[in-house]
């Protein structure tokens, strides 16, 4: 038993730690209660309903797997994973085992947190005096060593991010630097303090005993006695400082990841406009920086302050500026890698709404000219919506016509003579309410003409049709899916050219809607498919995204040239894509010829289009094959 008060386990050096803990928990609890209370009623109801379901168990499992074990980072980079694991799991174990050790030794279930944190100071003799079948001291030493190895890696990462497999590491805020400085001191300070105590009392296990004896040998018993208390003070001060800085630093994610995981499992994700649910997501970001490397704005256009990690940081501290909010391709490459599954695209998008609505007020007469407008042509159960970018690509329009003719499909052409925008570009600019008016117009148009299937060549349109239109009784499909159906039904016959083709996954089609296989299945009937190095959910963005309002043409071209080189490296003869915007961007930046899937299919049609071009009603049935 140490000389300090044995009943209350008190020494003045515990005060900084204790104050820090109280402050931290007060802030965290206050924030969570406030955010939860500010959730829409529907979300709170959903929360109550989901609480006692299997979803909670799944959430608990993910908390263990992600918050403690960081499994997602393991997939990205094992060394980085070890660093995070040592902090998260190590600290967690230090608290849990420390608590058991203390309770077992004191034979009481509850005691203030500082008792187990500073246990070695109050009970330096414990390892020898305490007879038990369980060697806590060994475990505590092992865990401390585990954490210290992580600290060493963290120091190392600051020096050379690339050695931990990251090309770029995150830049910090002031709160981060305070917390980080404290965090770096905490565990070495604990080692020093425990070593001093163990050195004086000749106790401790493999780590603290060895370092304690070494220390005693180095400075002598008197000096060791003199430095013991200051060492514990440093440890306590570092902890206190860390806890106070924590709510204002990236380390807030340590706690917030837990409610974030639960809310995600309950389907509470926030929406098109900023809301309270966003707080949990924004603060769940650990600023690990995994989102930086996949960002092509960084790799191809040398922009280093707009990535999701910085966007979230700025938004968290109310420092978000338009150039950051607007400078994103919304390609989703970072989102697929985010270990915490933050809805990075949605958050970026809804951060644009407040400003956009202020900038362009939505007056009653805006789009009034659309009332009663109907420029569609033809009749049929299948509707075709080209979208504005497809309308600008005459070869795709011609190809679609030929394919419809070859399949004998009767088509209602929604916008051949000019239509109304699908609304997605407006939505991407933050004008969600204005976009809604265009959506309502198109929705009414589709419903009026009684179509059951709506085909579009544009993944941008497709995404908004599927996610925001809520079309009852109308199935919306991409032209790649439509082609595959025609092929499978034997309504189209293609002649394989045997050429080697490579395929670019448009962001909105692939990561946006999960359509990866159908375009490939169609291409497989045309030639040999050569996959690029980055493909499917890791596919590169063409750079021509309609979601970015900052890039100039040169910067777009740089991104596109970079990406085009990856496709050229496959050795393919043609780059095929399935989005008019990607095609247009690549065409001016690709060494390979670029075509849309529709063009590739139309070019391979076995039967001349005119053979099928006879609408039954026209009565021109004579010998079509002769043409």
């Amino acid at each position: 038993m140490h000389t300090s008060d044995m009943n209350t386990h008190f020494d003045p050096f515990v005060i900084p730690f204790t104050l820090g803990v109280i402050y931290l928990f007060a802030v965290v609890v206050w924030r969570y209660v406030k955010w939860f209370a500010e959730l829409p009623e529907a979300d709170r109801r959903a929360f109550r309903h989901a609480l006692f379901t299997v979803r909670s168990l799944k959430a608990v499992r993910e908390v263990v797997e992600e918050a403690l074990l960081h499994k997602s980072i393991l997939r990205v980079n094992p060394l980085l994973w070890y660093m995070h694991l040592s902090f998260a799991l190590g600290w967690f174990l230090l608290i849990v085992i420390g608590k058991f050790e203390t309770s077992a030794y004191l034979k009481e279930a509850f005691n203030p947190p500082h008792v187990h944190v500073f246990f070695r100071y109050f009970y330096p003799e414990e390892p020898f005096r305490f007879h038990r079948g369980f060697n806590y001291a060994f475990l505590m030493d092992a865990v401390l060593l585990f954490i210290l190895s992580g600290v060493a890696l963290a120091w190392f990462k600051r020096l050379r991010a690339s050695w931990l497999g990251m090309k770029k590491t995150t830049k910090h805020t002031r709160g981060d630097r305070m917390a980080l400085a404290a965090l770096w001191v905490v565990f070495p300070a604990r080692l020093l303090a425990e070593s001093a105590t163990c050195g004086i009392h000749q106790t401790g296990d493999f780590l603290t005993h060895s370092t304690g004896m070494a220390l005693a040998g180095m400075v002598g018993p008197d000096a060791l006695r003199m430095m013991e208390l200051p060492a514990w003070w440093i440890y306590s001060l570092a902890l206190g400082m860390f806890f106070v800085a924590m709510p204002y630093s990236r380390y807030m994610h340590i706690f917030t990841e837990v409610p974030h995981i639960f809310l995600r499992h309950y389907g509470i994700r926030g929406g098109d406009k900023p809301g309270s649910a966003d707080n949990f997501q924004i603060q769940a970001c650990s600023r690990c920086g995994v989102c930086i490397d996949p960002c092509q704005l960084q790799s191809a256009a040398a922009m280093n302050d707009v990535q999701s990690v910085y966007f979230l940081r700025d938004r968290r501290y109310g420092l978000l500026t338009d150039p950051v909010a607007d400078n994103c391709l919304m390609c989703g490459r970072c989102e697929t890698r985010c270990p915490v599954h933050i809805d990075l695209n949605r958050l970026r998008l809804n951060s644009r709404t407040a400003r956009a609505e202020k900038a362009v007020p939505l007056t009653d007469d805006r789009y009034a000219y659309l009332r009663g407008e109907d420029r569609s042509e033809g009749t049929g159960k299948v509707g075709y919506f080209a979208g504005c970018m497809t309308l600008l690509s005459a070869p795709v329009m011609t190809a679609m016509q030929r394919i419809f003719d070859a399949a004998g499909e009767e088509v209602w052409w929604a916008d051949k003579a000019g239509g109304v925008c699908c609304g997605r570009p407006l939505k991407l600019s933050g004008e969600t309410d204005a976009a809604r008016r265009l959506m309502d117009y198109n929705k009414a148009l589709f419903e009026k003409h009684g179509i059951t299937t709506l085909v579009t060549s544009c993944p941008i349109c497709l995404k908004v049709f599927r996610e925001d239109y809520h079309l009852e009784g109308i199935e919306v499909i991409h032209h790649s899916q439509y082609f595959l159906r025609l092929l499978e039904a034997g309504r189209l016959k293609l002649k394989a050219s045997g050429a080697t083709l490579t395929y670019h996954d448009p962001c909105e089609l692939g990561r946006g809607l999960g359509i990866y296989d159908e375009p490939r299945a169609v291409l497989a009937r045309l030639g040999t498919l050569a996959e690029p190095k980055q493909t499917k959910k890791h596919a590169l963005c063409c750079g021509g995204s309609v979601a970015n309002f900052v890039l100039n043409s040169q910067q777009e071209n740089r991104i596109a040239t970079d990406a085009a080189a990856v496709y050229a490296a496959t050795g393919a003869e043609t780059l095929v894509t399935a989005c008019p915007q990607c095609k247009s961007t690549f065409r001016r930046n690709s060494a390979l010829p670029v075509s849309d899937l529709a063009e590739a299919v139309a070019a391979a049609l076995e039967v001349p289009a005119s053979a099928h071009r006879i609408p039954a009603a026209a009565g021109r049935t004579a010998a079509p094959a002769a043409s």
């Binding site: 309308l391 600008l392 690509s393 005459a394 070869p395 000019g418 043409s553 071209n557 065409r587 001016r588």
Partner: protein, 342 residues
């Protein structure tokens, strides 16, 4: 061989440079990628601002080159140039030693298919200004199904001043070409209406502005400030164009029998390999960057032996290209024979 000067390109600038060098007692060798001399001038019909047949400019040059006994190698594409100007490498690997090099490699026409919204190569009656020159030469300006057009639209700046196709520069000569072609159509078919759609009219040369005025007052060509945004075919085989008349601020649609795309000048595809091999700089536009814009616009650097003539450095008209041929020849001569640059 002593006094050999390699001239890359046998268009007007290259031929003029060769003639000047020959007169100065040097041994110019013209290396022409195509199977005949004359470059783009071979394909033009009549030249602005005087309606002079292109042949009247080209034939005397060809005659002079032949008469002077200048060595010409046809079908000789140059792939590389030595940074010190002491020779070039031809396709196939053959090296030609020289004492200086004149780069007169010209320009490429913009590939109008890159502007898909205009449907070139898809819709029959969308043609380029170069196609129209060919039609003029053949004296047959007709639609694809052989009809005389009743209305022709001419669209300026296709592949010029257009970031979307990486052509930020102005090609300069298309404005006056568009006015010339509009007037020629009106001459050919007085009943045919002609509309020119432009962003700006840049009438930079002597007499150009006067012709522009004449086109409106005498030839009744209608000039509309607005770029055509998209073109689609109509059921009766015509073309429908969407645009905006930006002077009155209203969107408009127009049908026409024929659309002529005034294609701009692009840096030649060979510029990149020549620049890399010869350590020459390219400007942002992709044309060669000369030493400076005033006293050094035919030189590559202070003491280099590589010189530029004609549209290798920027869009130019025929007269300007000819002058640069002479200027580059003199610079090349002085670099070999000694004497500081002027």
């Amino acid at each position: 061989m002593e006094n050999t000067i390699a001239i890359i390109g046998g268009g007007v600038a290259g031929m003029q440079a060769a003639l000047t060098l020959k007169e100065l007692g040097m041994r110019p060798v013209i290396l022409e990628r195509e199977e005949r001399l004359g470059g783009k001038l071979n394909t033009w019909d009549r030249l602005f601002p005087t309606w002079t047949p292109a042949r009247e400019v080209l034939d005397p040059l060809l005659e002079a080159v032949r008469g002077a006994g200048i060595e010409v190698r046809l079908g000789a594409a140059v792939e590389g140039v030595s940074p010190d100007g002491r020779g070039v490498t031809l396709a196939g690997g053959e090296r030609l030693a020289a004492e200086a090099v004149v780069v007169a490699s010209g320009f490429d026409l913009f590939d109008a298919r890159l502007k898909e919204e205009y449907g070139y190569g898809i819709y029959d009656n969308v043609i380029t200004s170069a196609d129209l020159e060919t039609m003029f030469r053949e004296k047959r300006v007709l639609t694809a199904d052989g009809r005389v057009p009743r209305r022709v639209a001419i669209l300026h700046c296709v592949g010029s001043r257009d970031e979307k196709v990486k052509q930020n520069h102005c090609s300069r000569v298309c404005c006056i070409t568009g006015v010339k072609q509009a007037m020629e159509i009106r001459e050919l078919y007085p009943e045919c209406e002609v509309f020119n759609f432009y962003m700006d009219m840049r009438m930079f040369g002597p007499g150009y502005e006067e012709i522009y005025r004449q086109s409106q007052e005498e030839y009744k060509v209608v000039h509309i400030r607005g770029r055509i945004s998209e073109v689609s075919p109509t059921l009766d085989g015509r073309l429908q164009m969407k645009t905006e008349d930006t002077l009155i601020g209203r969107p408009m649609k127009m049908e026409a029998d024929m659309l002529v795309l005034l294609v701009g000048m692009c840096p030649a595809r060979s510029n990149r390999s020549l620049a890399v091999s010869g350590n020459l700089s390219l400007g942002d536009s992709g044309f060669f960057a000369a030493a400076d814009a005033f006293r050094g616009n035919t030189r590559c650097g202070e003491n280099g032996r590589i010189f530029f003539a004609g549209t290798a450095t920027a869009p130019k008209n025929v007269g300007e290209s000819l002058n640069e041929g002479t200027a580059a020849a003199w610079q090349a001569y002085r670099s070999v024979k000694g004497g500081a640059s002027w």
